[in-house]
Amino acid sequence: MKIGLYPGCSLKGGSREYKESVVAMAKAFDIHLEEIPDWNCCGATAAHNLSHELSLSLPARNLALAEQAGMEVLVVPCAACYSRLTIVQHELNEDAALKKKVVDIIEMPYKGTVKILNVIQFLQQFILEQLPAKIVKPFDYKVACYYGCLLVRPHGILKFDRPEDPQTMDEAMKLLGADAIDWAFKVECCGAGMSVARTDVVGKLSGNIIKDAVDRGAEAIIVACPMCHSNLDMRRPDINKVIGTNFEIPVIYITQAIGLALGIDEEVLGLHRHFVPVELPEKEVKTQMEEK
C-alpha cells in the first residue's frame, strides 16, 4: 500500500521537526511516507474566509494529486491541514454538483477516495500494535496530552475520538509508559492565529493551558498540531510575561515522544529546534533484578 504524506506549510517551515519526527518514526517501522508531488497550500484559515470555491479547490487539488500518485492513504500531520482536507472531501462527497464544479476548477480528475489520516489515526492503524515490542526507553513521565481544536472537531465530519474529552493520544502515550494525567484543558483554544497579531491573547489562553498542566504535575505537554506547538513553545516568553510565571515545561510532538522511546537520536527528531529546551529529568531505569 502506498502511503502518502501531505506536509503543508508548517512542516516545511516553522515546525519542520514535526515532519522530521514523523518520518523518522515511520522509518523505524519500515513505513515509507511519500510526499505528494507538487502539493500546494491547503488554504488554511484564509481561503475559507475569502471564497468557498477556493477553499474547496486548494485541498481538492492535493487530494487529486494523491489519487494520481496512487496513494490509498494520506497522512496529514498538521491538524489544520487535516481539518481542511477532510472537510473538503466530505463536502464534495455529499454534493455531486459542487464536486463537478471543483473538478472543472482544478482541471483534474477527482474521485474522493483517498483515506485521510491524522497523525493519531496513522499511529492507530500502522504503528501502535508493533510499538511495545520496539520500546528501548519507556517514556516514563507525567504528561498532559493536548489535542487543541481541529484534531477532534467537528465531530460530525471527522468522526474521530470524543470531542470534549478525547482519549486517543492518552492511550498512545500510556503504551509508551507515560502517565497521561486527567486534566481540564485538553481541547481548549490556544489562541491559534492570534499568535501574530495579538500575542497578549495567546499569552493568556495558552498560559491557562500550561498552568493547568503544570498545576496537575505534568512534566511534559504532548501535542499533535504545529499551531498548538508554536503557541505553547515559541510564545512561552509572552505567556510567562502575561500571566506572570516562569514555566519551563517542554512541549513535545507525540511523534518525538515515540521517537525518544524507540531510541532515535534527539537531533534526528528535531528536539534541538524547540524554543523551550527539552530537558526531561533522567529517570532511573529499573532493571528486572532491581524490581525483584
Binding site: G156, P163, E164, D165, D182, A184, D215
Partner: protein, 666 residues
C-alpha cells in the same frame, strides 16, 4: 350487465383546481357498465352523501365508485352511505383523485386523463366486488396495564372504577415508578409521596385490579378484544401469602452495601429488600445477583429469622397466561446515560449529579433525610450550578427534542435548595426557559424573583475540579457572549428524558410502532393521541414522549376512557378483508398443495395446518387454513402462494388483474 355509479368530487378546489371534474364525470359515464355518473363540489357533505344514496335507489346501482380523496379519509363515510341505501357497503370503492392525482400534478390535460384512468381501474374492480359481511368477535372485558408508575396507576384505577377487570404488571418489586422518587412536585410544591402513595394503596385494594409486581410481559398473541398475554412472574424467592411484611429479613441481611436503585445510588439497600418504606406491595424480594446464598451457596440468614417461614430459595420464575381485551402500555422513560457528556464530569466527580439524584437529596425520605448535602463529603453546598438541556435539544451529540420537564423541575430544584440553604447560591445555565402550562410560568418566575436563583442564558462547555471546587466554565450570551466561570460546590445536570430500557423489544412484542427515539407512536398526532396503530393497544404517560405528572395523568385517564368505550360493547365488528385458502368439492378439496410457504411469512401467526380426512378418519390432504380471527389482511401469503390458492376478500387476484388490464387497454 353491471350498473355502476361514478361520483366525482371537486373537494372544494382541492381536486377541481387541476382536474376537470365535469369532463371526468362525462367520460366515466361512457365506460361499459357505468349506469350513472355525476360530479359535485363536496361529495362527503350531507347533500353529497344524499346524492349517492338517491342515485343508488333511483338507478338501481349495483356498484359505487366515489372518485374523491384517499380511502383512509372517507371510505368509511361512503360505505356507510352505500349501506344506508340498501347496498352492501363493500360494493363501494374509492378512486383516489386527490392524493394520487390533483395534489401531486399541475393543471394539464394529462392530469385529467390520469384521473379518468384511475376511475376506469376502480370501475373494473367494482364489477368484480362481492358482498362482504363484517366479522363479529367477542370482547374480553379485562385490561392489561403494563407499568405501575403514575400513568399506569391512573389508567388502572379509572378502568377498574368503570366496572372492568384490570391486570397490572410492574417490572420492579413495587409500583410507584419515578414519581415515588420525587421530593416535591411543581407547580405547587406538594409532596410527591403524599399524593401518590394513597393511589398506590388503592390499586392494591381495588377488587377489580389484580397486581403482579416483579413481572414482565413475555409474549402477546391475539387481537383487539381477544388478546392472550404470557406474563413472566420473576421469582421473588418469597411466599407472598405467608409474608407479613415485618421487615426482619431486611434488617438482618448481611449484604448491606448495594447501591439502591430507588435512591439513585446515593444510598444503600440489602440483598433482600423492599425498595422503599411505602412500597406496594410492602413485601421483599431477593436480588439474586447480590445475595450471598445465590452467589456462594451459604448464608440463609433471612430464612432463619423469618417468623412465618416465607423465604423460598428454590422458587422459579413462573409464566402465566391471561386473556385480555385491551392493553395499556405505560412503561415510562429513563434518563439519558450521562456517558454522553464527559465534559460535565458525571461519573468522574462525585458532586456532579443528575436531577433525579437531587430529588433524592431533597426528599424527606431520602439518604440525607431531605438535607441538601453533597455526596463527596456530606458538606452543605453553598453554591450549586444547574445545567439545563444536558442532552436535550442537542442534535450533534444528544437528542434533538426538548425533554419538556427540565425547565420546571430545575426551577423547583433552585427553590427547594434556597428554602433549605438560605445563604446558598443557585445558578442555572439555560438555552430558553420553556414553561408553558397552567401556573408554570409564574412558578419559574418566582424561582428567579422571590428565591433569587441566578439564571444565565448560555451553555456550559465543561466542568472540572480544581482545589476541591467544581469549576463550571460556560458563556453568558446576554452579556456580550462573555465567558463565565463559576466555582461551584455541586453541579446538577438536567439530563434528557429518553425511552425506557427495553422499549424497542416491548414494541416488537406488542406489534406497535415507535419513533426514531424509541418512544411509542400514537396512531394520529392530533386525533388519536392515545391509540396505537394496533387496535386495542393504548398508550399512557412518558413511554410516548417526555411528560410531566399532570400530562401523564391526563393521558392515562384519556386512555382509560378509550378502554371503557371498547368494553362497553359485548361484540366488536372487524373488517372482512381477510385471506382465505381455496376450498372445493371432492376429489380436489383444495388447490393448496400444502407447501406452507405462507406460514413463516405471516406476521400475525394466522396460518394453521388443516387436515382433510375421509369418513374413516384417514388423512387425505393437509392444506393451509387462515384463522379469520388473527388474519389482518396484509396479503403477504397471497404473494407467496405458488398455486394461487389464497385470496384476500375484496382484493382478489381477478380484481387486481382487471385493474391492471383497465390501465393497459386504453
Amino acid at each position: 350487465m353491471a350498473r355502476i355509479g361514478v361520483f366525482v368530487c371537486h373537494c372544494g378546489s382541492n381536486i377541481s383546481a387541476t382536474v376537470d371534474c365535469e369532463k371526468v364525470a362525462e367520460v366515466a359515464s361512457q365506460f361499459p357498465g357505468v349506469a350513472y355518473s355525476i360530479s359535485y363540489k363536496y361529495m362527503c357533505s350531507d347533500p353529497g352523501q344524499t346524492l349517492v344514496k338517491e342515485a343508488i335507489k333511483e338507478h338501481k346501482l349495483d356498484g359505487v365508485v366515489v372518485a374523491a380523496c384517499s380511502p383512509r379519509m372517507h371510505e368509511p363515510t361512503f360505505r356507510r352511505a352505500t349501506a344506508e341505501a340498501g347496498l352492501n357497503p363493500y360494493l363501494c370503492e374509492m378512486a383516489n383523485l386527490r392524493e394520487h392525482c390533483s395534489w401531486v400534478h399541475d393543471k394539464t390535460e394529462a392530469t385529467t386523463n390520469k384521473a379518468i384512468d384511475i376511475i376506469r381501474t376502480l370501475v373494473e374492480k367494482v364489477k368484480r366486488n362481492t358482498p362482504l359481511f363484517p366479522i363479529r368477535v367477542p370482547v374480553t372485558k379485562t385490561a392489561l396495564v403494563i407499568g405501575g408508575g403514575v400513568a399506569g396507576i391512573q389508567a388502572a384505577l379509572d378502568i377498574a372504577n368503570a366496572g372492568n377487570k384490570v391486570i397490572m404488571i410492574e417490572k420492579d418489586p413495587s409500583i410507584g415508578g419515578h414519581m415515588s422518587q420525587l421530593s416535591e412536585t411543581f407547580p405547587t410544591l406538594d409532596c410527591s409521596q403524599c399524593i401518590l402513595t394513597p393511589r398506590m394503596v388503592e390499586v392494591a385494594q381495588n377488587p377489580n385490579i389484580t397486581l403482579y409486581t416483579y413481572a414482565e410481559l413475555e409474549s402477546l398473541d391475539g387481537f383487539i378484544g381477544n388478546f392472550k398475554a404470557k406474563i413472566r412472574l420473576k421469582a421473588k424467592s418469597l411466599d407472598e401469602k405467608l409474608c407479613t411484611g415485618c421487615g426482619l429479613c431486611c434488617t438482618k441481611c448481611p449484604v448491606k452495601k448495594i447501591p439502591s436503585e430507588f435512591e439513585e445510588k446515593l444510598g444503600f439497600r440489602t440483598a433482600i429488600y423492599v425498595p422503599f418504606p411505602q412500597a406496594v406491595p410492602n413485601k421483599p424480594v431477593i436480588d439474586k445477583n447480590n445475595c450471598t446464598y445465590y452467589i456462594k451457596g451459604k448464608c440463609r440468614v433471612c430464612e432463619k429469622v423469618c417468623p412465618t417461614g416465607a423465604i423460598r430459595f428454590d422458587q422459579q420464575d413462573e409464566i402465566i397466561e391471561v386473556e385480555v381485551g385491551a392493553i395499556v402500555v405505560a412503561t415510562g422513560f429513563q434518563i439519558l446515560d450521562t456517558d454522553f457528556f464527559p465534559e460535565y464530569g458525571y461519573g468522574k466527580y462525585k458532586d456532579v449529579i443528575t436531577g433525579m439524584q437531587f430529588e433524592r437529596l431533597a426528599s424527606a425520605s431520602g439518604p440525607t433525610q431531605g438535607e441538601i448535602k453533597r455526596p463527596s463529603d456530606g458538606q452543605v453546598p453553598k453554591k450549586i450550578v444547574f445545567i439545563k438541556c444536558a442532552g436535550s435539544r442537542d442534535p450533534a451529540k444528544g437528542i434533538e427534542y426538548c425533554s419538556k420537564i427540565c425547565c420546571m423541575y430545575t426551577a423547583k430544584h433552585t427553590m427547594l435548595y434556597k428554602h433549605k440553604v438560605h445563604d446558598g447560591d443557585a445558578y442555572v445555565f439555560y438555552m430558553d426557559i420553556r414553561t408553558a402550562g397552567k401556573n408554570y410560568e409564574e412558578f419559574s418566575r418566582r424561582a428567579i424573583a422571590e428565591d433569587g436563583a441566578h439564571y444565565i442564558r448560555g451553555r456550559v462547555s465543561k466542568v472540572y475540579e480544581k482545589n476541591g471546587k467544581l469549576i463550571v466554565s460556560g458563556v453568558d450570551t446576554l452579556l456580550n457572549a462573555m465567558p463565565v466561570e463559576i466555582e461551584a460546590d455541586m453541579v446538577v445536570l438536567a439530563t434528557a428524558g429518553v425511552a425506557g430500557k427495553g422499549a424497542e423489544e416491548l414494541a416488537q412484542k406488542l406489534h406497535i410502532s415507535y419513533d426514531q427515539y424509541k418512544f411509542f407512536s400514537e396512531a394520529h398526532p392530533k386525533l388519536k393521541p392515545v391509540e396505537t396503530n394496533t387496535a386495542g393497544i393504548f398508550l399512557a404517560g412518558a413511554c410516548h414522549a417526555p411528560k410531566d405528572i399532570p400530562e401523564s395523568v391526563a393521558m392515562a385517564s384519556g386512555t382509560a376512557g378509550k378502554v371503557a368505550c371498547l368494553f362497553s360493547n359485548d361484540e366488536l365488528t372487524r373488517e372482512p378483508i381477510i385471506a382465505e385458502v381455496h376450498r372445493t368439492s371432492p376429489p380436489l378439496f383444495s388447490t393448496c398443495v400444502g407447501c406452507f410457504m405462507c406460514q413463516p411469512v405471516c406476521p400475525y401467526q394466522a396460518i394453521e395446518r388443516e387436515q382433510i380426512k375421509d369418513r374413516s378418519g384417514n388423512v387425505i390432504k393437509e392444506v393451509a387454513f387462515v384463522n379469520p380471527g388473527l388474519c389482518q389482511g396484509c396479503g403477504t401469503c397471497v404473494a407467496l402462494c405458488r398455486s394461487k390458492s389464497i385470496e384476500i376478500h375484496g382484493y382478489t387476484n381477478n380484481q387486481m388483474l382487471a385493474e391492471v388490464v383497465a390501465l393497459l387497454n386504453v
